[in-house]
Subunit: 239 residues, 2 copies
DNA sequence: CTCTGTGAAGTCATTCACAGCG
DNA sequence: CGCTGTGAATGACTTCACAGAG
Protein backbone atom coordinates (compact mmCIF):
# COMPACT_ATOMS: atom_id res chain seq x y z
CA UNK A 1 0.00 0.00 0.00
CA UNK A 2 1.35 3.38 -1.05
CA UNK A 3 0.42 6.55 0.81
CA UNK A 4 -0.38 8.72 -2.18
CA UNK A 5 -3.38 11.00 -2.59
CA UNK A 6 -6.46 9.11 -3.76
CA UNK A 7 -8.78 10.98 -6.10
CA UNK A 8 -12.46 11.30 -5.33
CA UNK A 9 -13.23 9.59 -8.63
CA UNK A 10 -11.42 6.56 -7.32
CA UNK A 11 -13.25 6.48 -3.99
CA UNK A 12 -16.59 6.82 -5.77
CA UNK A 13 -15.69 3.82 -7.88
CA UNK A 14 -14.65 1.80 -4.85
CA UNK A 15 -18.16 2.38 -3.61
CA UNK A 16 -19.52 1.11 -6.91
CA UNK A 17 -17.29 -1.96 -6.81
CA UNK A 18 -18.46 -2.77 -3.31
CA UNK A 19 -22.06 -2.60 -4.44
CA UNK A 20 -21.31 -4.97 -7.34
CA UNK A 21 -19.54 -7.39 -5.03
CA UNK A 22 -22.52 -7.39 -2.69
CA UNK A 23 -24.72 -8.44 -5.58
CA UNK A 24 -22.26 -11.18 -6.57
CA UNK A 25 -22.01 -12.41 -3.00
CA UNK A 26 -25.80 -12.55 -2.76
CA UNK A 27 -25.76 -14.62 -5.96
CA UNK A 28 -23.34 -17.03 -4.30
CA UNK A 29 -20.34 -16.19 -6.47
CA UNK A 30 -17.07 -16.79 -4.64
CA UNK A 31 -14.43 -15.57 -7.07
CA UNK A 32 -14.31 -13.03 -9.90
CA UNK A 33 -11.74 -11.64 -12.30
CA UNK A 34 -11.50 -7.94 -13.04
CA UNK A 35 -12.51 -8.74 -16.60
CA UNK A 36 -15.68 -10.61 -15.60
CA UNK A 37 -16.57 -7.85 -13.12
CA UNK A 38 -16.09 -5.24 -15.83
CA UNK A 39 -18.20 -7.17 -18.35
CA UNK A 40 -21.07 -7.71 -15.95
CA UNK A 41 -21.30 -4.16 -14.68
CA UNK A 42 -20.01 -2.23 -17.68
CA UNK A 43 -16.80 -1.12 -16.03
CA UNK A 44 -13.20 -1.10 -17.24
CA UNK A 45 -11.07 -3.99 -16.03
CA UNK A 46 -7.79 -2.06 -16.03
CA UNK A 47 -9.37 0.67 -13.99
CA UNK A 48 -10.67 -1.80 -11.43
CA UNK A 49 -7.20 -3.27 -11.04
CA UNK A 50 -5.57 0.16 -10.82
CA UNK A 51 -8.06 1.44 -8.28
CA UNK A 52 -7.57 -1.60 -6.08
CA UNK A 53 -3.79 -1.54 -6.50
CA UNK A 54 -3.68 1.78 -4.63
CA UNK A 55 -4.57 -0.08 -1.47
CA UNK A 56 -2.78 -3.39 -1.78
CA UNK A 57 -2.57 -6.59 -3.76
CA UNK A 58 -5.90 -8.28 -3.25
CA UNK A 59 -5.97 -10.56 -6.28
CA UNK A 60 -4.49 -13.89 -7.21
CA UNK A 61 -2.80 -14.05 -10.60
CA UNK A 62 -4.38 -16.55 -12.90
CA UNK A 63 -7.54 -16.62 -10.77
CA UNK A 64 -8.94 -13.21 -9.86
CA UNK A 65 -10.33 -11.80 -6.62
CA UNK A 66 -12.14 -13.53 -3.79
CA UNK A 67 -15.54 -11.85 -3.60
CA UNK A 68 -15.82 -12.13 0.17
CA UNK A 69 -12.27 -11.01 0.83
CA UNK A 70 -12.44 -8.04 -1.51
CA UNK A 71 -15.76 -7.05 0.01
CA UNK A 72 -14.17 -6.98 3.45
CA UNK A 73 -11.21 -4.99 2.17
CA UNK A 74 -13.38 -2.37 0.46
CA UNK A 75 -15.63 -2.08 3.50
CA UNK A 76 -12.56 -1.40 5.61
CA UNK A 77 -11.01 1.01 3.11
CA UNK A 78 -14.23 3.03 2.84
CA UNK A 79 -14.54 3.10 6.61
CA UNK A 80 -17.89 1.33 6.48
CA UNK A 81 -16.83 -1.11 9.18
CA UNK A 82 -17.43 1.68 11.69
CA UNK A 83 -20.94 3.01 12.32
CA UNK A 84 -21.57 6.63 11.37
CA UNK A 85 -24.04 8.86 13.14
CA UNK A 86 -25.78 11.45 10.99
CA UNK A 87 -27.41 14.74 11.97
CA UNK A 88 -29.65 16.48 9.45
CA UNK A 89 -29.96 20.26 9.62
CA UNK A 90 -33.25 21.45 8.17
CA UNK A 91 -36.45 19.52 8.88
CA UNK A 92 -38.20 20.60 5.71
CA UNK A 93 -39.34 18.31 2.92
CA UNK A 94 -35.91 17.08 1.98
CA UNK A 95 -34.59 16.77 5.53
CA UNK A 96 -37.51 14.68 6.75
CA UNK A 97 -37.48 12.58 3.58
CA UNK A 98 -33.81 11.75 4.21
CA UNK A 99 -34.52 10.98 7.86
CA UNK A 100 -37.21 8.51 6.79
CA UNK A 101 -35.07 6.94 4.11
CA UNK A 102 -33.47 3.82 5.48
CA UNK A 103 -31.32 2.84 2.51
CA UNK A 104 -28.30 4.29 4.33
CA UNK A 105 -28.51 1.67 7.05
CA UNK A 106 -26.87 -0.85 4.76
CA UNK A 107 -23.83 1.42 4.55
CA UNK A 108 -23.71 1.69 8.33
CA UNK A 109 -25.12 5.23 8.53
CA UNK A 110 -27.84 6.07 11.03
CA UNK A 111 -29.76 9.33 11.25
CA UNK A 112 -29.84 10.15 14.95
CA UNK A 113 -31.04 13.77 14.99
CA UNK A 114 -32.74 16.52 13.03
CA UNK A 115 -32.28 20.24 13.58
CA UNK A 116 -34.45 23.23 12.71
CA UNK A 117 -35.03 26.82 13.79
CA UNK A 118 -38.82 26.62 13.40
CA UNK A 119 -40.51 26.48 16.80
CA UNK A 120 -43.41 24.54 15.34
CA UNK A 121 -41.05 21.74 14.34
CA UNK A 122 -38.74 21.62 17.37
CA UNK A 123 -39.56 18.77 19.72
CA UNK A 124 -41.51 16.81 17.13
CA UNK A 125 -40.57 13.27 16.25
CA UNK A 126 -40.10 12.29 12.62
CA UNK A 127 -40.56 8.96 10.85
CA UNK A 128 -40.82 5.41 12.07
CA UNK A 129 -37.55 5.78 13.97
CA UNK A 130 -39.03 8.79 15.84
CA UNK A 131 -35.99 10.98 15.25
CA UNK A 132 -36.26 14.08 17.41
CA UNK A 133 -36.14 17.57 15.87
CA UNK A 134 -33.81 19.69 17.97
CA UNK A 135 -33.39 23.45 18.15
CA UNK A 136 -30.54 24.25 15.74
CA UNK A 137 -29.01 26.50 18.40
CA UNK A 138 -28.32 23.41 20.48
CA UNK A 139 -26.47 21.77 17.60
CA UNK A 140 -23.05 21.67 19.24
CA UNK A 141 -24.38 20.03 22.37
CA UNK A 142 -26.44 17.40 20.55
CA UNK A 143 -23.51 16.62 18.25
CA UNK A 144 -21.40 15.93 21.32
CA UNK A 145 -24.04 13.96 23.21
CA UNK A 146 -25.14 11.86 20.24
CA UNK A 147 -21.65 11.37 18.80
CA UNK A 148 -22.66 12.78 15.42
CA UNK A 149 -19.82 12.59 12.89
CA UNK A 150 -21.64 13.36 9.65
CA UNK A 151 -23.91 16.35 9.00
CA UNK A 152 -26.43 16.83 6.21
CA UNK A 153 -27.30 20.38 5.22
CA UNK A 154 -30.87 20.60 3.93
CA UNK A 155 -31.62 24.28 4.47
CA UNK A 156 -32.21 27.18 2.03
CA UNK A 157 -29.11 28.36 0.16
CA UNK A 158 -28.87 31.73 1.87
CA UNK A 159 -28.34 30.22 5.32
CA UNK A 160 -26.27 27.20 4.27
CA UNK A 161 -22.87 28.78 4.90
CA UNK A 162 -23.92 29.88 8.37
CA UNK A 163 -25.14 26.37 9.13
CA UNK A 164 -21.89 24.91 7.83
CA UNK A 165 -19.91 27.23 10.10
CA UNK A 166 -21.94 26.08 13.07
CA UNK A 167 -21.53 22.45 12.09
CA UNK A 168 -17.76 22.87 11.69
CA UNK A 169 -17.54 24.62 15.07
CA UNK A 170 -19.27 21.64 16.60
CA UNK A 171 -16.39 19.54 15.34
CA UNK A 172 -18.09 17.67 12.50
CA UNK A 173 -15.58 16.77 9.77
CA UNK A 174 -17.84 15.39 7.03
CA UNK A 175 -20.79 17.21 5.49
CA UNK A 176 -23.25 16.38 2.75
CA UNK A 177 -24.72 19.60 1.38
CA UNK A 178 -27.96 19.84 -0.59
CA UNK A 179 -28.12 23.64 -0.72
CA UNK A 180 -27.32 25.01 -4.18
CA UNK A 181 -24.28 27.06 -3.15
CA UNK A 182 -20.53 26.64 -3.18
CA UNK A 183 -19.65 26.42 0.50
CA UNK A 184 -16.31 27.27 2.06
CA UNK A 185 -15.00 24.67 4.45
CA UNK A 186 -12.01 25.00 6.70
CA UNK A 187 -9.09 22.62 6.35
CA UNK A 188 -9.75 19.10 7.53
CA UNK A 189 -13.48 19.32 6.84
CA UNK A 190 -14.89 17.52 3.81
CA UNK A 191 -18.01 18.95 2.17
CA UNK A 192 -19.72 17.08 -0.64
CA UNK A 193 -22.41 19.03 -2.43
CA UNK A 194 -25.33 17.44 -4.23
CA UNK A 195 -26.68 20.21 -6.41
CA UNK A 196 -30.00 19.22 -7.92
CA UNK A 197 -30.37 22.51 -9.73
CA UNK A 198 -27.14 21.94 -11.64
CA UNK A 199 -28.21 18.37 -12.47
CA UNK A 200 -31.55 19.53 -13.81
CA UNK A 201 -30.07 22.41 -15.77
CA UNK A 202 -27.57 20.07 -17.39
CA UNK A 203 -30.48 17.89 -18.47
CA UNK A 204 -32.15 20.99 -19.85
CA UNK A 205 -29.04 21.78 -21.88
CA UNK A 206 -29.21 18.32 -23.34
CA UNK A 207 -32.88 18.72 -24.22
CA UNK A 208 -32.19 22.04 -25.90
CA UNK A 209 -29.77 20.47 -28.41
CA UNK A 210 -31.22 19.05 -31.60
CA UNK A 211 -30.81 15.33 -30.93
CA UNK A 212 -29.73 12.73 -33.45
CA UNK A 213 -32.91 10.70 -33.47
CA UNK A 214 -31.38 7.30 -34.02
CA UNK A 215 -33.88 4.52 -34.68
CA UNK A 216 -32.52 1.46 -32.93
CA UNK A 217 -32.16 -1.49 -35.22
CA UNK A 218 -33.61 -4.52 -33.38
CA UNK A 219 -30.98 -6.77 -34.93
CA UNK A 220 -28.19 -4.79 -33.35
CA UNK A 221 -29.59 -4.82 -29.83
CA UNK A 222 -27.14 -5.65 -27.09
CA UNK A 223 -28.20 -8.45 -24.71
CA UNK A 224 -29.19 -6.14 -21.88
CA UNK A 225 -31.32 -4.11 -24.23
CA UNK A 226 -33.22 -7.16 -25.33
CA UNK A 227 -33.95 -8.06 -21.74
CA UNK A 228 -35.00 -4.50 -21.06
CA UNK A 229 -37.43 -4.54 -23.97
CA UNK A 230 -38.94 -7.84 -22.93
CA UNK A 231 -39.51 -6.57 -19.40
CA UNK A 232 -41.03 -3.46 -20.81
CA UNK A 233 -43.53 -5.44 -22.84
CA UNK A 234 -44.43 -7.54 -19.81
CA UNK A 235 -45.08 -4.39 -17.84
CA UNK A 236 -47.33 -3.01 -20.53
CA UNK A 237 -49.31 -6.22 -20.70
CA UNK A 238 -50.16 -5.84 -17.03
CA UNK A 239 -52.06 -2.62 -17.70
CA UNK B 1 -20.05 29.37 -32.24
CA UNK B 2 -18.40 26.05 -33.03
CA UNK B 3 -20.40 22.85 -33.15
CA UNK B 4 -18.04 20.70 -31.11
CA UNK B 5 -19.01 18.34 -28.33
CA UNK B 6 -19.46 20.14 -25.01
CA UNK B 7 -18.42 18.22 -21.91
CA UNK B 8 -20.78 17.81 -19.00
CA UNK B 9 -18.25 19.53 -16.76
CA UNK B 10 -18.68 22.60 -18.93
CA UNK B 11 -22.47 22.59 -18.84
CA UNK B 12 -22.43 22.18 -15.05
CA UNK B 13 -20.21 25.23 -14.82
CA UNK B 14 -22.48 27.24 -17.12
CA UNK B 15 -25.19 26.54 -14.59
CA UNK B 16 -22.93 27.83 -11.84
CA UNK B 17 -22.07 30.96 -13.81
CA UNK B 18 -25.74 31.68 -14.37
CA UNK B 19 -26.39 31.44 -10.66
CA UNK B 20 -23.54 33.86 -9.94
CA UNK B 21 -24.82 36.30 -12.53
CA UNK B 22 -28.28 36.17 -10.98
CA UNK B 23 -26.76 37.21 -7.66
CA UNK B 24 -24.81 40.01 -9.33
CA UNK B 25 -27.89 41.22 -11.19
CA UNK B 26 -29.86 41.25 -7.93
CA UNK B 27 -27.07 43.37 -6.44
CA UNK B 28 -27.46 45.83 -9.31
CA UNK B 29 -24.12 45.10 -10.97
CA UNK B 30 -24.24 45.74 -14.71
CA UNK B 31 -20.85 44.64 -15.95
CA UNK B 32 -18.21 42.15 -14.77
CA UNK B 33 -14.86 40.84 -15.98
CA UNK B 34 -14.00 37.16 -15.91
CA UNK B 35 -11.34 37.99 -13.35
CA UNK B 36 -13.76 39.73 -10.98
CA UNK B 37 -16.28 36.94 -11.40
CA UNK B 38 -13.60 34.38 -10.61
CA UNK B 39 -12.41 36.27 -7.53
CA UNK B 40 -15.88 36.70 -6.09
CA UNK B 41 -17.03 33.13 -6.55
CA UNK B 42 -13.72 31.26 -6.34
CA UNK B 43 -13.65 30.24 -9.97
CA UNK B 44 -10.91 30.32 -12.59
CA UNK B 45 -11.07 33.25 -14.98
CA UNK B 46 -9.48 31.43 -17.92
CA UNK B 47 -11.96 28.63 -17.52
CA UNK B 48 -14.90 31.02 -17.51
CA UNK B 49 -13.66 32.60 -20.75
CA UNK B 50 -13.01 29.23 -22.34
CA UNK B 51 -16.39 27.82 -21.37
CA UNK B 52 -18.18 30.84 -22.77
CA UNK B 53 -16.07 30.90 -25.91
CA UNK B 54 -17.58 27.57 -26.96
CA UNK B 55 -20.85 29.36 -27.58
CA UNK B 56 -19.84 32.73 -28.97
CA UNK B 57 -18.04 35.96 -28.18
CA UNK B 58 -20.10 37.55 -25.44
CA UNK B 59 -17.51 39.86 -23.92
CA UNK B 60 -16.10 43.27 -24.73
CA UNK B 61 -12.31 43.53 -24.65
CA UNK B 62 -11.07 46.00 -22.12
CA UNK B 63 -14.43 45.94 -20.32
CA UNK B 64 -15.75 42.47 -19.57
CA UNK B 65 -19.24 40.98 -19.84
CA UNK B 66 -22.63 42.63 -19.53
CA UNK B 67 -24.34 40.85 -16.65
CA UNK B 68 -27.80 41.07 -18.15
CA UNK B 69 -26.74 40.06 -21.61
CA UNK B 70 -24.67 37.10 -20.44
CA UNK B 71 -27.53 36.00 -18.24
CA UNK B 72 -29.83 35.93 -21.23
CA UNK B 73 -27.28 34.04 -23.29
CA UNK B 74 -26.71 31.39 -20.63
CA UNK B 75 -30.43 30.97 -20.04
CA UNK B 76 -30.87 30.37 -23.76
CA UNK B 77 -27.86 28.02 -24.02
CA UNK B 78 -29.07 25.92 -21.08
CA UNK B 79 -32.55 25.80 -22.56
CA UNK B 80 -34.04 27.47 -19.50
CA UNK B 81 -36.01 29.89 -21.64
CA UNK B 82 -38.43 27.05 -22.35
CA UNK B 83 -40.58 25.62 -19.55
CA UNK B 84 -39.95 21.99 -18.61
CA UNK B 85 -42.61 19.66 -17.30
CA UNK B 86 -41.45 17.05 -14.80
CA UNK B 87 -42.99 13.71 -13.89
CA UNK B 88 -41.75 11.93 -10.76
CA UNK B 89 -41.95 8.15 -10.63
CA UNK B 90 -42.15 6.90 -7.06
CA UNK B 91 -44.35 8.71 -4.54
CA UNK B 92 -42.32 7.63 -1.52
CA UNK B 93 -40.45 9.95 0.82
CA UNK B 94 -38.05 11.29 -1.76
CA UNK B 95 -40.59 11.56 -4.56
CA UNK B 96 -43.08 13.56 -2.54
CA UNK B 97 -40.32 15.71 -1.05
CA UNK B 98 -39.18 16.61 -4.55
CA UNK B 99 -42.77 17.30 -5.63
CA UNK B 100 -43.14 19.73 -2.73
CA UNK B 101 -39.79 21.40 -3.32
CA UNK B 102 -40.35 24.55 -5.33
CA UNK B 103 -36.75 25.63 -5.81
CA UNK B 104 -36.90 24.26 -9.35
CA UNK B 105 -39.49 26.82 -10.38
CA UNK B 106 -36.76 29.42 -10.73
CA UNK B 107 -35.09 27.23 -13.35
CA UNK B 108 -38.36 26.89 -15.22
CA UNK B 109 -39.12 23.33 -14.12
CA UNK B 110 -42.58 22.37 -12.92
CA UNK B 111 -43.60 19.06 -11.38
CA UNK B 112 -46.88 18.16 -13.05
CA UNK B 113 -47.38 14.51 -12.08
CA UNK B 114 -46.36 11.75 -9.71
CA UNK B 115 -46.53 8.02 -10.44
CA UNK B 116 -46.70 5.00 -8.16
CA UNK B 117 -47.81 1.40 -8.20
CA UNK B 118 -49.24 1.47 -4.69
CA UNK B 119 -53.06 1.48 -4.76
CA UNK B 120 -53.17 3.40 -1.49
CA UNK B 121 -51.25 6.27 -3.06
CA UNK B 122 -52.85 6.39 -6.52
CA UNK B 123 -55.39 9.19 -6.85
CA UNK B 124 -54.05 11.14 -3.88
CA UNK B 125 -52.93 14.73 -4.24
CA UNK B 126 -49.55 15.77 -2.94
CA UNK B 127 -48.30 19.12 -1.64
CA UNK B 128 -49.60 22.64 -1.92
CA UNK B 129 -49.74 22.33 -5.70
CA UNK B 130 -51.99 19.27 -5.33
CA UNK B 131 -49.99 17.17 -7.77
CA UNK B 132 -51.93 14.00 -8.60
CA UNK B 133 -50.42 10.56 -8.04
CA UNK B 134 -51.14 8.46 -11.13
CA UNK B 135 -50.99 4.73 -11.64
CA UNK B 136 -47.54 4.04 -13.04
CA UNK B 137 -49.10 1.78 -15.69
CA UNK B 138 -50.71 4.87 -17.21
CA UNK B 139 -47.33 6.60 -17.47
CA UNK B 140 -47.17 6.77 -21.25
CA UNK B 141 -50.61 8.33 -21.52
CA UNK B 142 -50.03 10.93 -18.79
CA UNK B 143 -46.65 11.82 -20.29
CA UNK B 144 -48.40 12.52 -23.58
CA UNK B 145 -51.35 14.39 -22.10
CA UNK B 146 -49.31 16.51 -19.70
CA UNK B 147 -46.42 17.12 -22.09
CA UNK B 148 -43.87 15.74 -19.66
CA UNK B 149 -40.31 16.05 -20.99
CA UNK B 150 -38.28 15.28 -17.86
CA UNK B 151 -38.68 12.24 -15.61
CA UNK B 152 -37.38 11.73 -12.10
CA UNK B 153 -36.81 8.17 -10.92
CA UNK B 154 -37.33 7.88 -7.17
CA UNK B 155 -38.07 4.18 -6.82
CA UNK B 156 -36.10 1.31 -5.22
CA UNK B 157 -32.96 0.24 -7.09
CA UNK B 158 -34.28 -3.15 -8.16
CA UNK B 159 -37.12 -1.69 -10.23
CA UNK B 160 -35.30 1.40 -11.51
CA UNK B 161 -34.22 -0.10 -14.84
CA UNK B 162 -37.76 -1.27 -15.56
CA UNK B 163 -39.10 2.18 -14.77
CA UNK B 164 -36.47 3.76 -17.01
CA UNK B 165 -37.49 1.46 -19.85
CA UNK B 166 -41.09 2.51 -19.44
CA UNK B 167 -40.12 6.16 -19.28
CA UNK B 168 -38.02 5.85 -22.44
CA UNK B 169 -40.84 4.04 -24.23
CA UNK B 170 -43.09 6.95 -23.38
CA UNK B 171 -40.68 9.17 -25.29
CA UNK B 172 -39.02 11.03 -22.43
CA UNK B 173 -35.46 12.04 -23.34
CA UNK B 174 -34.13 13.40 -20.03
CA UNK B 175 -34.10 11.53 -16.74
CA UNK B 176 -32.84 12.33 -13.27
CA UNK B 177 -32.25 9.09 -11.39
CA UNK B 178 -31.99 8.79 -7.61
CA UNK B 179 -31.86 5.00 -7.48
CA UNK B 180 -28.40 3.71 -6.58
CA UNK B 181 -27.84 1.72 -9.79
CA UNK B 182 -26.07 2.24 -13.08
CA UNK B 183 -28.92 2.42 -15.58
CA UNK B 184 -28.71 1.64 -19.28
CA UNK B 185 -30.27 4.25 -21.52
CA UNK B 186 -30.84 3.96 -25.22
CA UNK B 187 -29.23 6.42 -27.58
CA UNK B 188 -30.69 9.89 -27.50
CA UNK B 189 -31.82 9.60 -23.87
CA UNK B 190 -29.85 11.41 -21.18
CA UNK B 191 -29.81 9.93 -17.68
CA UNK B 192 -28.19 11.77 -14.83
CA UNK B 193 -27.81 9.79 -11.64
CA UNK B 194 -27.62 11.33 -8.19
CA UNK B 195 -26.25 8.56 -6.03
CA UNK B 196 -26.48 9.48 -2.37
CA UNK B 197 -24.96 6.20 -1.24
CA UNK B 198 -21.79 6.91 -3.19
CA UNK B 199 -21.65 10.45 -1.81
CA UNK B 200 -21.99 9.23 1.74
CA UNK B 201 -19.49 6.42 1.30
CA UNK B 202 -16.95 8.87 -0.12
CA UNK B 203 -17.40 10.98 2.99
CA UNK B 204 -16.88 7.87 5.07
CA UNK B 205 -13.62 7.20 3.24
CA UNK B 206 -12.49 10.68 4.14
CA UNK B 207 -13.43 10.18 7.79
CA UNK B 208 -11.53 6.92 7.89
CA UNK B 209 -8.23 8.60 6.96
CA UNK B 210 -6.14 10.04 9.77
CA UNK B 211 -6.65 13.76 9.14
CA UNK B 212 -4.00 16.44 9.43
CA UNK B 213 -5.55 18.39 12.27
CA UNK B 214 -4.48 21.83 11.18
CA UNK B 215 -5.18 24.55 13.76
CA UNK B 216 -6.14 27.63 11.78
CA UNK B 217 -4.02 30.62 12.64
CA UNK B 218 -6.45 33.59 13.04
CA UNK B 219 -3.86 35.92 11.48
CA UNK B 220 -3.92 33.96 8.24
CA UNK B 221 -7.70 33.97 7.80
CA UNK B 222 -9.00 34.83 4.38
CA UNK B 223 -11.64 37.58 4.21
CA UNK B 224 -14.56 35.21 3.74
CA UNK B 225 -13.43 33.17 6.70
CA UNK B 226 -13.44 36.24 8.93
CA UNK B 227 -16.99 37.00 7.90
CA UNK B 228 -17.95 33.41 8.49
CA UNK B 229 -16.51 33.47 11.99
CA UNK B 230 -18.27 36.70 12.87
CA UNK B 231 -21.59 35.32 11.71
CA UNK B 232 -20.95 32.20 13.68
CA UNK B 233 -20.38 34.18 16.84
CA UNK B 234 -23.55 36.17 16.26
CA UNK B 235 -25.49 32.96 15.90
CA UNK B 236 -24.11 31.60 19.13
CA UNK B 237 -24.99 34.77 21.00
CA UNK B 238 -28.60 34.31 19.99
CA UNK B 239 -28.81 31.07 21.95
C1' DC C 1 -2.11 -20.53 -19.91
C1' DT C 2 -4.82 -16.95 -17.17
C1' DC C 3 -5.15 -12.99 -14.82
C1' DT C 4 -2.88 -9.48 -11.88
C1' DG C 5 -0.27 -5.36 -11.25
C1' DT C 6 1.89 -1.59 -13.62
C1' DG C 7 4.85 1.33 -16.72
C1' DA C 8 3.88 3.72 -20.99
C1' DA C 9 0.70 5.81 -24.15
C1' DG C 10 -3.29 8.11 -24.98
C1' DT C 11 -7.18 11.11 -23.99
C1' DC C 12 -9.44 14.72 -21.85
C1' DA C 13 -9.49 19.03 -18.81
C1' DT C 14 -7.45 22.90 -16.71
C1' DT C 15 -4.30 26.65 -16.44
C1' DC C 16 -0.89 29.68 -18.37
C1' DA C 17 0.42 33.40 -21.03
C1' DC C 18 -0.01 36.59 -24.55
C1' DA C 19 -1.48 38.63 -29.13
C1' DG C 20 -4.57 41.79 -30.32
C1' DC C 21 -9.20 44.27 -29.97
C1' DG C 22 -11.84 48.07 -27.97
C1' DC D 1 -4.26 50.32 -20.96
C1' DG D 2 -7.42 46.26 -19.49
C1' DC D 3 -9.64 42.50 -20.80
C1' DT D 4 -11.14 38.96 -24.05
C1' DG D 5 -10.34 34.95 -26.76
C1' DT D 6 -7.11 31.26 -27.67
C1' DG D 7 -2.86 28.42 -28.87
C1' DA D 8 0.42 26.17 -26.17
C1' DA D 9 1.82 23.96 -21.78
C1' DT D 10 0.69 21.46 -18.05
C1' DG D 11 -1.78 18.31 -15.30
C1' DA D 12 -5.22 14.59 -14.36
C1' DC D 13 -7.47 10.49 -15.46
C1' DT D 14 -8.13 6.43 -18.37
C1' DT D 15 -6.84 2.78 -21.30
C1' DC D 16 -3.46 -0.09 -23.47
C1' DA D 17 -0.38 -3.72 -23.39
C1' DC D 18 2.66 -6.78 -21.37
C1' DA D 19 6.06 -8.80 -17.94
C1' DG D 20 5.75 -11.95 -14.69
C1' DA D 21 3.30 -14.49 -10.70
C1' DG D 22 0.51 -18.47 -9.71
Amino acid sequence: MKSEKISELTTSRLSVYLRCLNLLAAAGIKTISSQALADQFRLNSAQIRKDLAHFGEFGTRGVGYSVGELRRHLTKILGLDRAHRVGIVGAGNLGTALANYNGFRESNFEVVALFDNDRAKIGRKVGAAETIVHDVRKLARVVREEGIDVAVIAVPARVAQRVLNQVMSAGVKAVLNFAPVRLHARLGVKVKTVDLTISLESLSYFLARPQITCVTNPRSLLPYEEIAQREEQELQQQS
